[in-house]
């Protein structure tokens, strides 16, 4: 077996285990933010899009790559933003300090 592929398999397998492990005891309230947060994380495929567009050498590969970069960036930016907004609402819970919380929401990168 090619050494690189073998190692890649190890990395993949370990990450799978880790993914299963990390989620283990998530309360149902967090299901939606978790879905949306992981959704943003797989936007990492944007990196792939950047790389293929970077080395695109025909116009149609440029078109493919460009679309991919746009959609990938939308996935990343929108996904993280909406997750942060959602979690921001959760934070508001302690009723009294709503005002201060809104301030926090603004700060959230």
């Amino acid at each position: 077996m090619d050494q690189d592929i073998l190692l890649g398999t190890y990395v993949f397998g370990l990450a799978i285990f880790l993914g299963l492990e990390v989620i283990n005891r998530v309360p149902s309230t967090l299901h939606t933010p978790l879905m949306s947060g992981t959704n943003a994380i797989h936007g990492i495929v944007l990196i792939g899009a950047m790389i293929v567009l970077g080395s695109a050498d025909t116009w149609w590969l440029q078109v493919l790559g460009f679309i991919a970069v746009v959609t990938g960036a939308a996935n990343v930016a929108g996904g993280f933003m909406v997750t942060d907004r959602m979690l921001g609402m959760f934070k508001k819970r302690p009723a009294a300090n709503a005002a201060s919380d809104q301030g926090k929401g603004g700060q959230g990168r």
Binding site: G65, F66, N75, V76, K92
Partner: protein, 469 residues
């Protein structure tokens, strides 16, 4: 030498980004740290993106294209993310997930075109990446349209659908095999494009027959699929950050899908293929047969009195609360009742609304204090000691058929024991069924009264009436 240093920085950045994703995901799954976790992931993503610009492959015209693409994409993503209403969250997540899916598919196709002599392992990764990415794209699109109610939330089935699916699937398998064997060349590329198109069709056909209420589970599953597709593209590019982030999402997403299905007492297979089986006709039949049995309608004034003079009230919010955007009004009503010495609590069913945690988000938005929200297990025994259960736009999560009727499609789902309260007031607009499409015996019970109308309006009027009482 400079190249070398740059690559080292990029490698290191990817390593750091991967670690940040892991820690971020871990924190995301615990309430106290969730937001910080998301922010760590954002940091990881930023590091990975910036580092990628250092790669020697990226230069010249294409560099400009990349920057422009990122700017446009960011704008496309951020605008709806900032403006969308909380009720529309699920469809937005579906939309972003579809974006990720199409990205993975396009990247896979580009990889195939750019490489010469694609190895078997890489070929397989490319084929699967294209397939899964495309299915995730159209699947998410259908889910989006269903949730936006641009197309019917009802399962859409047509004759011999399974046969078509099987045919398309076989075609994809064949095309994939050819692509992997051919390794290279324009013919293989055309085949891969064909495979892409067939996968787009497959994604559409797979999700159309699934009912709208199951969409959150479908989205979670497609989300996990997109993660897998991203990991596969990373495999081909030899990019471990992609592999790790993708695999993390793939694995955690799968688990999450199962957890969500479990909260609805369904299996994932049942969710995906349920419409092909017995449930669809049964549900349709049940929905048609309603309106016959007697119900007790109540006026706002009559409803206000028992509320105002109750000792204990439990509010049961459901999807209708979200539709009516009645959360602020509900809070006002609750404050008013509490001011009169009534003990008011909220009973939160894990799948009330259209996404898990939907009710928590909504009520949090209205500043309802967190310690008033009770999860199902914690409050279910208290209904029997409650004067009034005020059901606001909830339906399926209160349906006693889940407890009693073994033939019901929701049989076995844990529900809120609303029917055990001394009296039940239900706020909804009509006798129409909820998302499961089945009738609710609760509405015909002796101690149940129906207060018809939009939830927001009804509550506003209730507030007035309680003040007067």
């Amino acid at each position: 030498m400079i190249e070398d240093g740059r690559t080292a920085i990029v490698d290191l950045s990817y390593l750091v980004a991967s670690a940040l994703f892991i820690v971020g995901l871990k924190q995301l799954s615990s309430p106290a740290t969730a937001r910080r976790g998301n922010q760590l992931s954002i940091l990881g993503m930023a590091i990975a993106i910036v580092a990628t610009f250092l790669l020697p492959e990226i230069e010249g015209d294409n560099l400009v294209l990349i920057v422009v693409g990122i700017v446009i994409g960011t704008a496309i993503g951020i605008v709806p993310a900032r403006q969308v209403k909380m009720t529309a969250m699920p469809q937005l997540v579906a939309a972003f997930n579809g974006m990720g899916g199409i990205t993975a598919a396009l990247v896979s196709i580009s990889e195939f075109s750019q490489k010469s002599e694609v190895g078997r392992g890489e070929g397989l990764s490319i084929v699967l990446g294209t397939l899964i990415g495309a299915v995730s794209f159209t699947g998410s699109a259908v889910a989006f349209l269903k949730l936006q109610e641009r197309i019917s939330g009802r399962p859409i089935v047509f004759p011999r659908q399974q046969l078509y699916n099987a045919g398309i699937f076989a075609a994809i398998g064949l095309l994939g095999l050819l692509v992997i064997v051919l390794q290279d060349g324009n013919f293989a590329r055309s085949l891969l494009v064909l495979l892409f198109l067939a996968s787009l069709a497959l994604g559409t056909l797979l999700v159309l027959p699934i009912g709208g209420a199951d969409m959150p589970v479908v989205i979670a599953l497609l989300n996990s699929a997109t993660g897998l597709a991203a990991a596969l593209t990373g495999f081909v590019l030899g990019n471990q950050a992609l592999v790790i982030a993708g695999a993390l999402v793939g694995a955690s997403g799968t688990l999450l899908t199962m957890l969500m299905a479990k909260a609805m007492n369904r299996s994932v297979t049942n969710v995906i293929f349920g419409a092909f089986g017995a449930i669809a006709p049964g549900a349709a039949g049940a929905a048609g047969g309603g309106e016959a049995k007697p119900i007790r309608e109540i006026s706002v004034e009559d409803a206000a009195v028992p509320l105002a003079y109750a000792q204990r009230v439990i509010i049961v919010p459901g999807y209708g609360l979200a539709v009516a955007q009645a959360q602020h009004a509900v809070r006002e009503l609750a404050d008013l009742l509490e001011g009169r010495g009534v003990d008011v609590r909220y009973a939160i069913h894990p799948v009330a609304g259209r996404m898990p945690g939907h009710m928590n988000v909504l009520l949090a938005e209205a500043n309802v204090s967190y310690d008033r929200l009770y999860e199902m297990e914690r409050i279910n025994d208290d209904f029997a000691r409650t004067d009034v259960a005020l059901v606001i736009g909830a339906n399926d999560v209160t349906n006693p058929a889940a407890r009693e009727d073994t033939a019901s499609p929701i049989y076995g789902m844990p529900i809120l024991n609303v029917d055990q309260a001394a009296s039940v007031i239900v706020l909804k607009r009509s006798m129409k069924s909820g998302f499961a499409g089945i009738e609710n015996e609760l509405f015909h019970n002796e101690n149940t009264s129906m207060l018809f109308g939009d939830a927001k309006e009804s509550i506003d009027r209730l507030i007035g009436a309680v003040k007067a009482a």
